[in-house]
Each structure stands twice: as structure tokens, then as C-alpha cells.
Amino acid sequence: MKSVLLFFLLILFTGKGSAQGPEKFIACHIHNASFATFADYIKQQSGVVLYYQDAWTKNLFVNIDEENITVSDAVAKVLKGSGLEVSVWNNNLVVLRGEKLIDTLPSFEHKAISVDSTAQKEKALTASEERYITGRMADAIQTLRIGKPGGSRSNAKAKVLGRLLDEETGEPVSYANMYIASIETGAVADANGFFTVFLKPGSYNAIFEFLGYESSKYQLEVLSDGSFTLNMKRAVIQMKELVIHGDRQMSMQAKDPGIEKILMKTIKNVPMMMGERNILNLSALLPGIVNTGEGSAGLNVRGGGSDQNAFYLNKIPIYNTSHLFGFFPAFNSDIIKDFSIYKGYIPAQFGGRLSSVFDINTRQGNLKHITAHGGLSPITGNIVVEGPILKDTFSFIISARTSYSDWILKDIKDPDIRASSAKFSDFSGGLNYDVQKTQISLFAYHSHDHFRLSNLNDYAYSNDGVSFIYNHRYSNSLHVEYALIASKYKFNTTDKQEPTRAYEHAYELNHYEAKADFKHILTDKNALDYGAGFVLYDLDRGDVKPFGTKSLRYLVPLGSDKGLESALYISDSYDALTWLTLTVGARYAMFTPLGSKTVYTYTPGSPRDVRYINDTLQFGNNKPIKWYSEPDLRAAVNIETDAYGSIKLAFNQMHQNLFMLNNTITIAPNAQWKLADYHLKPSQSNQVSLGVFRTLSKIGLETSLEFYYKHTVNYPEFKDGADFLGSPLVETAVLQGRQKAYGVEFFLKRSSRKLEGWLSYTYSKSLLKIDGEQPFDQINKGEEYPANFDIPHSFNLVLSYHLSRRLTFSSIVVYQTGKPITYPVSVYYVDGVPVLDYSSRNAYRIPGYFRTDLSITLEGNLKRYKLAHSSLSFNVYNVTGRENPYSVYFKTVSGKIRGYLYSVIGVPIITATWNFKFGNYAAD
């Protein structure tokens, strides 16, 4: 800007009439020409030579319509929004990326500071200092010109496609906001940083903002349909200085009830357990989501079973989401950019699970320069390396994590534990290609756990997956995403405790998926989503094989399962009124179990039992066994009550074709997944939810209150003492019935303050009723009983206090009602030996769960420009050392019945972790 001023001064001196070189006035009418053509034209008209690099301008198309314009103005206009700047040099023009040639020394102080010279970089300014210095210059905002003049039809709105990129890494800034106050219009960027707004031609003052970035103001000059790219600058210090616009962010982001979007940045200060930030355990601190307990990977969302949640990591389904039975997530949290949890209104593009979808996205990798970061704790170590392959277009990101905890086991007293080992590791790698309207990504993932218990048991499992995603914008309003996904989950167990019953078992689940998702923005009020997808499941449930020469076991082939899930969906979101948005969608999914398979049928009126098989059906390879299909309807209504609040209503229908065979209280790590088949029907649920959201911006609080009611049919429940290793016939061990879940969720959040955090409280009930006509088709005599994961009260408090910019104290307080349990209620004697008689199923509860965690994090210095940043954190898990009950059981000890309470963790666990990364505090 300053050089432009200088330049005009120069013009004044030289006199307008005798303007030569770059100041010469020319006529310029060029349409859809390349920059090279434009440069030739300029040279021809004015004799001015344009110096530029082909690589920078090859994607630039020149559209200009000016009768009388100076050469340098014409070039500047053409380069607007491309990140390129033009400078005068020896009466010719030089095009440079992002900076101008400095042709004179700064003439006054302000100028010297605002020029981004390397000498000044060492001194990073806080936002307030910067504001103090630049405060008077607030009006000097940049103009973004969109489209071309005359390109628009009179009063019609122009479609504007914007893209927000991180200035430092070149990665898209997902979910950032754009807001135009004068017309109360805004948009939220998608995962690739794109957003679309409809604006009448004219000028607008737009604010772009996002957590961790400096909010920036631009003037949008909309001429016609067009697009622009904007680089957002990171805020050096996030705390204190950031102005929050929580109200707008909230109403923008959470248009649907029951969606939780979590950005890794927002959870930097939450205490960690064993030195790792477990995003899955963290999500259990949100309303409506509970963890079944220590040592369990399962999450229960809104009273649903733990197999009713889908986890996608860059669209790869993860069938076992944890390492070491739930203590660590199965993926490195350091590469995760954000994750969304859908639990109320689930968009029509998702299906297949009843309760929720966890959609996890990783970062694309730094597009500007190579960087690395990592962490070390007594148990694990991890490292992430990322950088460009081709600057600004092609990047990679690699992460590796491993445990090395066996040395600790050597000090444990128990001989079996001393001779044991527990190991896990995971790797992931991504390649991302990003050019203007096309983004291509290839992501691969591998995780592995191996557990050996002395010479008694070996257990190993692994997840492998790869996804190929192609995103393209055919126009400003049509976006399509094609994805190809393959994933494999497998485990194997070798049990050799008793030589004569020793066995080995290997299980494998393969998932192949292809899908296309279209997002069509029809008008500024109407957006249409549609798409199709196919999933082929191929499960090899494996053989239970005798192990060793002494084993007398039979070989039991558990058989294989194959099934095809095909889905079509369409969904429309319509802003009926300024305060009312309606979303209606339908998903038609068909599930077809496929052969080859031998299916047994059972005599009607008798239990499904091998004794009552009356016929055998043979299905050839890939022959359909059954056709299950039913439409899932989805609808959501979003009512904006005022600028600070909204009410959201939703109806959600889901189907589930894949179940986990599990008859223990929590998920056993070797639980098998099983497809719906000839006998086992897909389960279906209907959910109604209502949410009230409100922002109290004066005190910086966000609140919400949500209600839901969910009814599920064909919920599979396992018969007493079901054994899934002894027989391939799952139908003999499973009954299907109804599930009913309802609850209230309350959420209160304060962010970007010295004291920040949230409080959540959930009341939820989950009841089952398995009431077949015959007694053998009933559980609990056909009466309603609480599900194993029925946890009515759940309270979570997460607080962080920033004592200084480098020192943060944080704490987590968790309370949950105890899980339901079947207690012994009376005693009787068999041959003089006391035996317990148990209550009806789940009639009692174990005592409640209460835990407090504390953590102190000390960040390294906050210099903006430095080679590496490191932080130290000390975490105490379960500070009070409370022996939280995991289960209660009873044993007869010298003729008396004694109750015992089993706690997984009964002491405080203290860990220290050192994290490092190249770059400053804010770097990813």
C-alpha cells in the first residue's frame, strides 16, 4: 500500500500527461486469457516488460475490462486475490509472491514496524501491542475483488466460493467462519477450507475468524460469480487476546442438534492420562456419551450399545478403536485435526450404526516446509513428520507411535505378569495434493497390539486401512467427493492354559467401500446433498483350532459372513425463513447377506437349537441369502430464536447390519463382529430429539439443553452364558428384542478465558425388553430390564486455569451412576454347599464412579520464531485414589457369602510427559 502511495507521489512529480512506462494509461479488454498473453499485450501497448514466474501464474486467468487504466493498476487488478504483488523496477514491472520490492527506506516509524522484514521477525508482538501500533489504521483494510464487472445479471446474487488457508503451513483452515455483519450472513468452511456464499454484487465488510487465528477484516467487492483464496494468520498467543464470537460460531456450526465438533486445538489443556491425550475418553466427557469404565474401549452414546458407534479416520472405519483395552486411542492424537460426533441428527450420508458417528479427520501436512513433533512418556513415544513434496500443492504427513513399557512389568510381583508383555504401535501416512478446486488424498493406517500373558495366552489384533479421496468443485456451487476405502481388522488368540483344551483362533473382518457424495448449492437458501455408496463386508470368523499335541478340542469352523450394503441418499437443507432452516433427507439402504453359506432352519415353536434343526439351505458363492431394505428418514428443524439462541428439532432413523458378539459386562477385546444374516435381522431405531441452545456472550458462556427419545427394534441381546467360540450358529445364542432410551443433556461451556472449560450433565435411561412368545425366547421372563450400560446420571467438569501464558493447571471431575448388575439375593444349599440365587437381570447397581484428574503443563518459551518448542506436563489420574468399582462379585468363603468389589485403578497414577515440536507454541 505504501509503495502505491509513493508511486502516486512520483506520478505527481512527473506529471500526468507525460506518463510513460508503468504509468501509461492504456485500454484493456481481455477475457479468459492466460497471464502470458496479458503480459505480451502490456508490452505491446506500453513497452513495459512484466517479470514473473510461469509457475506462479499458470493457473491465473485474466479478465479485465477497463477503458482507461494505468499499466501498473491493470496488472495489480489482475493479480488481486492471487497472493501476487506487482512492483515497479527500472520502469518495468516485477511480479513477486506476497511481497513488494522495497524501493525506498521507510520514512516513518509505523511503517518500519508493519513491514514484515526479517530483522523484525525476532520480536513478536502481542495482539494488543500490535493493535496499539496499528490501531489508527483500522480502516486500511484490503479489498478482495470477486468476479468480473458486467459478468452478473442485474440483481441476481453471485455465487462466491472462498477458500481459507493457513498462511504458515498452507493447509486449509477447516470450519473457519466468514461473517458479514451488515446483512447478517455468514458461512462456515468445510473440511477443505472451502465455503460458498451468495451475495448481491456490491461491497461488504467481511470478518474471517477462527480459533487460533487472528481474525481478519476484508472488504469483499463482489462483481459476479467468482472465487478467492485467503491466507489466515495464526495468532501467536491464543490466550486473553482473542475476542470471542461464540454466538455466531455456535449458531453457524451446530445447525443440527446433537452434533459435537471438537478441534484438537480446543483440547490442548485437558489433562492427559499416562501422557497421552485420548480423544475417545475425552469425548466421554461430553453430554450424552459415557465410557463403560476403565479397561473398556467402548463408548455408549445416548443409551446405545458400544457397537452402535461408527468410527471413521479419514473415512477408514476403525473396528477396534483402542490400544491396551481402552487406555490409549488406536491413533496418534497429534495428527488429528478435528473430529465430529453425530448423535442426534445424523446426516443422510451416514448410515449403518444406530447411535452415533465419530468422524475423525487428520491434518493434511504442512505445505510450506518440513517440520516434526513428538512426545515421550514412560510408556509410549510418538513422532510426526510432515512437509511439502511440491511446495503449496503436494504434502505428506507421517506419524509413528510405539509403546516400550515391558520394563515396568519386570518389577511386578505376580510371576505371570513378570513373564508377560504388552506392546502396541501404530503408523499412519498421508499424501495430499491440493490444487485450486481439486484435492486428492491418499491415507494409510496401521495399528497393532500384541499381548502375551506368561505362557498362558497370546492375543494380538490389528487394524489396517487405506482411503483414497478425490474432491472436486465442478463449479462454485457443485462439490463432489469420491472415495475408495479398504479396511481390515483382525485378531488372533492362542489359549494354552489347559493343554487338553488349548486352542487358537484367528478372526478377520474386511471392509471395502466405494462412495460418491455430491453437495449441490442450489440457491443461497437451498443446498442439496445426494450420493451413493457400496460397502462389501467380508468376515472370516475363523476356525477354533486345537493347539498343541495334547489338545482334544474339535476343530470348530465359525464360518464366514459376506454382505453387501448399498445405499442411496438425498437430503435438502432449506432456509425457509431467516430464522428457520429445514433439513429433510432420506437414505435408502439395502443389506444383502451373501453366500456361500449353509443355513439351518429350525422347527417353528421350538428354541433355535441344534436339536431342532429341520432343514438345511445351501447358498452358492455371492448368492443373496436375504434382502433387507427399508428407507431411513431424517429431518431437522433449526429455529433461530434471536441472535443468541436457537431451538433444534430432529427426527432420525437408522439401521444397523453389523453387531458385536459380546456377552460380558463390557467389551472383551476378542469380541467378534457379526453381520446380520438369515436369522439375525438388522436392527432399526427411531430417535426424536429437541435441543435448546443459548449463548450468554457477556459472561462468555455457551449453554445447551437437549432431550431425546430413541426406540430400537431387533436389538440383539445374548442369552445367558452364550458361548461364541463353541458353535458357528450365532442364532442359537442370540435373541432380538426392543430397546428404549431417553434422556436429557445439559452443557455449559466457557472458552478462551483465563479460566475455561465445561460442565456437562446427562440423565439417560436405556431399557431392554426381550419378550418372545415362548419362555425360551425371553430374557428376564420377558420383563423390561436396564441394559448393561444404563447409566442414568453422568456429570463431568473440565476446567483449565491459565496461571500465566506458559503455565496451565487443569482438572477433570467425573461422576457416574454405577452400572446395573445382577446381585445374589438369597442363599440355598445343595448337598450342604451354599449356592447363591440371583435377582432378575440387572436389578441392582454397583456403587457410583467418581474420579478427579489434575494436570500441570509448562510450555517452553513463546517466542514466535524459534526452531523448536517443547512442553512438559505432569498428570495425576485419579488424584483421590478412589477405588472406583468396576464390578462387584460374590464368593463363598468358609460357608459365608462375601461380596467383593473389583477396581481396575485404585491408586493415583502419576505420569510425566515431554512433548516437542519444531516451530512455535501454536504450530501443529
Partner: protein, 385 residues
């Protein structure tokens, strides 16, 4: 260690031994409805058939509540009826001629209680039992939590060799009998004055104790390629008890049972040995084959089965390479201040001595009376030594 413990152990490994198990008394409503419990069987190979009828008791105050005065009849599926007589304390007995027992015949029981309930069982069919193949023990040391600390003793095993025609479901009961000794005969005692018993009374020096092991041992060979099982573990006897000191006898009863009976006993076994832990199956309200015809909504607990039984008794004296280290419960105390140290409330005070005189050493009653440890001083008829 059972299968389900595996994950508990894995868990212990992971949390580095931070997990813990402690006593817990849950607040349980004493169930108001008492349930009938019926246990009994007809068993081919036993001379007397036994059945027991009782009621459940509250978990907080466990007690045995017999149901007496019932009218009990056993029926087979061929139309025969066998009456059982009330033997008191809830027991009912009858003698059935072995000619009625052959494989494939089914039996059921019908009980009419004084309260007017009619309890009936399903039919349970008789199967063949193979002879006991081999019962034996091996020295086995079990390492405990401290390195180098071993539980020393012997582990008993049974080998099973079924035949084509015999059942695939088995249950074992083990009864153990052992001889144990009081430290001294009764020779001197003091109750104000000193008495000398001469010759010394040895009648309470040697006793025998018998008990049925509470463990439930069940086996199904249906998932095995042969109707055979080697080295099925029975019980364990450690060197910290006196059981192996003077002679140990055990009787193993091998029952062949029906599949339903196996399921019942297996559930009972699974329920009675819970170890807590992580991936534990849910406890089950174990249902047998009994029904209340008058009040079908009331559960009747227990099982009435038809079995065949064979038994074998074995004796052990002196286990080689096993050093015993047991407690005799005899704790002599030196009377430093003479006999007046014995308070009148403690009379009679037993004194250590021999035929020539006593010494100022007070013996507790367990030192001279083996009956106090629960056994009998009548030598069992089968005792060989």
C-alpha cells in the same frame, strides 16, 4: 485359572498392578418371596436314593430351612412309581430295585408340600457311566505373588475314558477323609487340685475328619474329538494342612449325567466361582428342571436328575519329597508363677507331663482333644492303617 480371568490378568499387567479387590457389602433387599429348592437324584449304583427339599434364605442371614412333611414320589416313564419317605431335616429317601435302572429310562419326581404346592421335575434320562480310569496326584508347586514364594503340595487328577455307549457329560464329587492327631494324650490336669490320669487317655488323641469338597467338577466331551479326557484337575492339597500327615483317603464319585443336568451343574459352577475381573460373564439365575404346578409364576430352584455312578477310593500315606509345615493348634504356655496362674474360669487346665510327674506347662484343650477340630475319634470302617 479360567478363561475369563485372562483379561483380568491382562488388565493387571496394563495398569501395573494398580487394580485391587476389596470387601464389599452391598445393600440388598432381602427378597420377600421364599423359593423352594429341590435337590436329588436317582442314581444307578447307589443303594439309597436321596432327595432334599428346602427354602431359600436371605443373603444377609444365610440358613438352611428344611421343608418337611412332604409327600414325595418318583415316577419313571414306564409307569412305575417309587415312594420316598421323610427322613427328617428336609431329606427324603427311598430304595429302588436296580432292575428298574437301565440306560434310556427317564425319571421324574413329584412333591406335594404341606403348604399345598405341587413341585414336579421334568423327566431326566439315565445314561451309562464308564468305570473310573485312573485317579492320581502329582507334586505341584504354585508360585505366589512374591518371587520364590511357593504354595507346596499335591494336585489330584482324574483320567476319563468313555465308551461309545456312555454319556458325554460328567460330574465328579470328591469326599476326603484324613487322620489327624492331638499333640498329647490326656495325662495331667488341674482344677484346684492336680489330677493324674493313669494310664493316659489316648481316646481323643487320634481323630478322622471327613468332608465333601464344595467344588463342582463338570466335564462335557462333546466338543472333544474323543469321549476321553486326560488329567482333568480335581482338588489341590497343600503342605500347610495336617491332611497329608498321618493318612489321607479320598473317594471320587463319577456320575454320568444328561445334557440338561450338565447345563445346570455347569451354570452352578460358573456362578459359584466368579473371580470378578473385567470381562466376566454376567451371573445367571440358575434354573433347573423343577416347576411349581400350583404357582407357575414362582421359580423352583434345584435339579432332579437320573444318573449312573461309579466310585473309587484311594489312600495316601507319606508323600515323597513333600515337607509338611502344618499347624496343630496346640500352644503350650509356661506357667512362670505356678499353678495359681490358672484361673478357676479356665478349669480344667491341662498340664504337660509324663508318668512320673507334671511340669508347669499349660496345654490348651486342642493339645489333648482332637474332637475340638471337628473330626470324630471313631475310625472309619474303610480306614486301612
Amino acid at each position: 485359572m479360567r478363561r475369563t480371568d485372562i483379561f483380568l490378568y491382562m488388565m493387571l499387567v496394563i495398569v501395573l498392578g494398580t487394580s485391587c479387590i476389596k470387601n464389599f457389602e452391598p445393600d440388598i433387599l432381602s427378597s420377600d418371596a421364599k423359593k423352594y429348592v429341590v435337590n436329588g437324584q436317582v442314581s444307578s449304583g447307589d443303594s439309597i436314593q436321596r432327595l432334599n427339599v428346602s427354602l431359600t434364605s436371605s443373603i444377609n442371614e444365610p440358613e438352611y430351612i428344611p421343608v418337611t412333611g412332604c409327600e414325595v414320589n418318583i415316577y419313571d416313564n414306564l409307569g412305575h412309581q417309587f415312594e420316598m419317605t421323610d427322613a427328617g431335616k428336609g431329606d427324603y429317601t427311598s430304595i429302588i430295585d436296580p432292575v428298574y435302572f437301565h440306560p434310556g429310562v427317564s425319571f421324574k419326581v413329584e412333591i406335594r408340600t404341606l403348604a399345598g404346592d405341587i413341585l414336579v421335575s421334568d423327566y431326566d434320562s439315565l445314561t451309562q457311566v464308564p468305570p473310573i480310569d485312573n485317579v492320581y496326584y502329582q507334586r505341584k508347586d504354585i508360585e505366589r505373588s512374591e518371587p520364590g514364594d511357593f504354595l507346596v503340595g499335591i494336585q489330584f487328577y482324574i483320567d476319563l475314558k468313555g465308551t461309545q455307549t456312555s454319556s458325554h457329560y460328567y460330574r465328579w464329587e470328591v469326599f476326603e477323609t484324613w487322620e489327624y492327631h492331638a499333640e498329647y494324650p490326656l495325662e495331667w490336669y488341674y482344677d484346684g487340685t492336680v489330677h493324674h490320669v493313669s494310664p493316659p487317655d489316648f481316646s481323643r488323641k487320634v481323630c478322622w475328619s471327613t468332608r465333601k469338597l464344595p467344588n463342582i467338577f463338570t466335564l462335557s466331551t462333546t466338543n472333544l474329538s474323543e469321549n476321553r479326557y486326560d488329567k482333568f484337575p480335581l482338588h489341590y492339597v497343600g503342605n500347610k494342612s495336617s491332611r497329608l500327615a498321618y493318612g489321607y483317603s479320598y473317594l471320587v464319585k463319577q456320575y454320568s449325567i444328561s445334557e440338561q443336568a450338565y447345563n445346570y451343574w455347569e451354570q452352578l459352577r460358573a456362578n459359584s466361582n466368579p473371580e470378578g475381573g473385567l470381562y466376566e460373564k454376567q451371573p445367571i439365575s440358575v434354573k433347573g428342571n423343577m416347576h411349581d404346578l400350583m404357582h407357575p409364576e414362582n421359580d423352583v430352584l434345584g435339579y432332579f436328575g437320573a444318573t449312573s455312578v461309579v466310585s473309587q477310593r484311594k489312600f495316601i500315606k507319606d508323600v515323597p519329597d513333600l515337607v509338611l509345615d502344618f499347624n496343630t493348634f496346640c500352644f503350650p504356655v509356661i506357667l512362670r508363677r505356678g499353678l495359681r496362674e490358672i484361673a478357676p474360669s479356665e478349669y480344667p487346665g491341662y498340664l504337660l507331663g509324663d508318668e512320673f510327674g507334671y511340669s508347669l506347662v499349660l496345654l490348651n484343650a486342642e493339645c489333648i482333644n482332637c474332637l475340638l477340630l471337628g473330626g470324630t475319634n471313631v475310625k472309619p470302617s474303610f480306614w486301612p492303617f
